[in-house]
């Protein structure tokens, strides 16, 4: 009875807030449902015939979870998923309440599988509630220190959570991230490791903002034979001789061509070769992560291949919109490691770029904006054809970009609409404008561009 009331309330709130266009109605319904029935998540999660899988980590959650959902569909399953940006407990509650019938039952219950992306710090709580079959850890970078605390705090939280997982839980772990790979030391259940083998993708030396440079076990400074990005690479500890484990799923070849890339993944069950409509090594990592989680869930290679081939850009992640005869790509900026990857990806072809950069400092963006000083914006120097800076902390960003050599007085326009108009006007017809916003700015930008491109507000276009 309580459950039905919670489901009803959640759905009513979701419908109302969508009607009022208040942020797509993602967080509030779950909050309401959880308040009315705190047992809603465990109860409904237990009714998922194929159980659940969690995707967590600093970067790559949204795109990877999206890939896993596509793979599940090709495997004949019916995924239940939370929406990105709603990756706390209430997001999971909203997803479950929104997927069941009024009486709390699923249609086709045997085919139902929960694929939930969860916030790094919330993961232990969600895991206790949904009792997942598999948990994927993508990577651990410094991110919003004002919110998560220090990187080591999250690593410690993860180790404690993994220790508490029963042996039936399979982990999918990034072998190239020492902080993530080390979780296999404390795992009771099976582990599927993934990583990048293709050494031609090496990115040189450790970036300025590299975290996890030190062995968690003995404290020695790690050595790298290859660094891909951030602190991801082929690492070994000279102190205790821990080393990057051999991955079960590995990117063995990667080539970029025409707004996409061809990725070959080596798995224990054979090779997977796909063309992704996404670029950047970080997206190859996402594909490997999705494959590893699919393997952990016992899904066959063929479905993995088909699922990855059908993937499209997640909301605000290399999403392409057509506005006034220009292609506008929106790429979310979250943290130094992520933005460094974005910069490296968009500058790969060497042609000058048209850019609009938005910096906000709300809680979801990170109130502390000092992270922009850890980003290697210097890589853009000499490669920018036009630049507009916007967002609540536009001047801070302008100053950072000035330091990076992008002009003594970068163009600043606080109004998001005007900034986008200026940036589009500065981009020649047929050209591409790259819009790089932090999270809350992305919501604004995406809604404005969505209207201009006729694609509508984001929650209408974002297929589950």
């Amino acid at each position: 009875m309580r459950l039905t009331a919670a489901i009803l309330a959640a759905r009513t709130v979701a419908a109302l807030s969508r009607g009022l266009r208040r942020g797509g109605g993602t967080a509030l319904p779950g909050l309401v449902a959880e308040r009315l029935d705190p047992g809603l998540v465990p109860t409904l999660a237990a009714r998922l015939g194929q159980g659940s899988a969690l995707v967590t980590g600093t970067n790559g959650k949204t795109t990877t979870a999206r890939m896993v959902r596509g793979i599940c569909r090709k495997a004949g399953l019916r995924p239940v998923a939370n929406r990105e940006g709603s990756n706390m407990m209430r997001g999971v509650a909203a997803a479950l309440a929104g997927s069941v019938r009024w009486d709390g039952s699923f249609s086709a219950p045997k085919k139902r599988i929960g694929i939930f992306e969860v916030d790094e710090a919330t993961m232990p709580l969600v895991a206790r509630s949904v009792e997942p079959r598999a948990v994927l850890f993508t990577n651990l970078f410094r991110d919003q220190l004002d919110r998560y605390g220090e990187v080591e705090t999250v690593a410690t939280l993860w180790r404690a959570a993994v220790r508490s997982f029963p042996a039936e839980v399979t982990l999918a772990l990034n072998a190239d991230d020492p902080a993530v790979a080390s979780l296999s030391d404390v795992a009771l259940g099976k582990v599927v490791l993934y990583g990048v083998d293709d050494e031609t993708q090496a990115g040189g030396s450790l970036e300025h903002a590299a975290d996890a440079r030190w062995c968690y076990a003995c404290g020695s400074e790690l050595e790298y034979a290859v660094v891909f990005y951030g602190h991801l690479g082929h690492w070994r500890c000279p102190g205790c001789h821990r080393a990057r484990p051999t991955p079960d799923v590995a990117v063995s070849a990667l080539t970029t061509a025409n707004d996409g890339m061809n990725v070959t993944l080596r798995t224990l069950a054979g090779e997977v070769s796909v063309r992704l409509p996404l670029v950047g090594l970080y997206n190859a990592y996402n594909a490997a992560a999705a494959t590893a989680l699919a393997v952990a869930l016992g899904i066959e290679t063929k479905a993995i291949e088909q699922g990855l081939a059908g993937v499209t850009a997640a909301f605000g992640r290399q999403e392409r919109l057509a506005v006034d005869g220009r292609e506008v790509q929106v790429i979310l900026a979250k943290n130094p490691a992520g933005v460094n990857q974005v910069i490296r990806t968009i500058t790969a072809d060497g042609a000058p770029k048209h850019l609009a950069v938005f910096l906000n400092d709300d809680i979801a963006d990170g109130r502390d904006i000092s992270w922009i000083w850890d980003v290697d914006f210097e890589l853009l120097s000499g490669g920018v054809a036009s630049l507009v800076v916007s967002g609540r902390r536009a001047w801070d960003m302008a100053l950072r970009l000035k330091y990076a050599g992008l002009g003594e007085r970068p163009e600043v326009e606080h109004d998001a609409k005007l900034a986008l108009r200026q940036a589009i006007a500065a981009t020649p017809e047929g050209g591409t404008l790259y819009v790089i916003p932090t999270y809350t700015a992305m919501l604004d930008v995406r809604n404005i561009l969505g209207r201009w491109s006729g694609r509508g507000a984001f929650w209408e276009g974002d297929a589950r």
């Binding site: 410094r142 220190l145 004002d146 220090e150 990187v151 080591e152 300025h208 903002a209 440079r213 030190w214 404290g219 400092d361 109130r367 502390d368 904006i369 000092s370 992270w371 922009i372 000083w373 850890d374 609540r392 902390r393 536009a394 001047w395 801070d396 302008a398 100053l399 950072r400 000035k402 330091y403 003594e408 007085r409 970068p410 600043v412």
Partner: protein
């Protein structure tokens, strides 16, 4: 003219965009045709007290701070003391600031000895204590300094240090006495990051002028185009003071 800067533990103490402070020193030297030399000193590297005009140490996570402590005291401590006694200029931010004092007592009660260049001590009241996080504005010599603070430790000054400034909005040293940062001789410590110096160009120039004065007599720094710097300063000031009214 030449500025010789030592950056202590750049790999370990770099948590809050501290690189921006180094970039600021470099930029504001090169813009005036002052030669700029940077040495990055890590664990095990000796500190030569006669080799530098300016020393910087940034913030760190607790784990990294622990790695630095022994080296700071045993390898560099005496030489740093000598440098300070010769009126060498030093800027320490956040975690580095805490290490300049007598000790840092962490949330679990463990004590990290500091290097004692500033007369202060820092205590974390425990894991349940409120962390001081947010935008901060202080008044410094009739001007404002803007930045962001994020610290659990409460810092208290002894008689031989004076606060760098007084808190306009934010928490400062301990959330209690209205002081922020510390100064003793030419040693400056503060919790402000953001990065601190790029958008506080007058403070950056104050330190540069002090650092260059030793060997070059009285130094007059030529003005630079600080339009963007001043706008960033004004924007941070506006947002921090407005928010403190609405949100607290």
């Amino acid at each position: 003219m030449k500025l010789r800067l030592a950056h202590l533990y750049p790999k370990l103490m770099n948590i809050y965009g501290d690189r921006g402070n180094i970039m600021c020193f470099e930029r504001r030297c090169r813009g005036r045709e002052i030669e700029f030399e940077l040495d990055e000193l890590s664990i095990g590297d000796a500190f030569d007290p006669g080799a530098y005009d300016l020393v910087f140490i940034g913030g760190a996570q607790d784990a990294e701070q622990r790695r630095v402590v022994d080296d700071l005291r045993d390898v560099k401590g005496e030489a740093l003391q000598e440098y300070v006694e010769r009126d060498g200029v030093l800027l320490a931010v956040c975690g580095g600031y805490q290490l300049m004092g007598a000790y840092y007592r962490s949330a679990d009660g463990g004590e990290l000895p500091g290097v004692g260049l500033l007369d202060l001590w820092t205590e974390h009241p425990g894991p349940d204590a409120k962390r001081f996080i947010g935008n901060v504005v202080i008044e410094w010599e009739g001007e404002t300094l803007v930045g962001f603070e994020n610290h659990g430790g409460r810092t208290h000054l002894g008689p031989r240090a004076r606060p760098l400034g007084s808190v306009v909005t934010g928490f400062g040293n301990n959330g209690d006495d209205g002081g922020e940062g510390a100064v003793c001789r030419n040693v400056y410590g503060t919790y402000l990051h953001g990065s601190l110096l790029p958008k506080n160009p007058r403070f950056a120039d104050h330190l540069l002028a002090l650092a260059l004065a030793g060997e070059n007599g009285d130094v007059r720094l030529a003005p630079l185009d600080d339009m963007v710097e001043e706008q960033a300063h004004a924007e941070a000031l506006r947002l921090a003071t407005r928010r403190s009214i609405i949100r607290r």
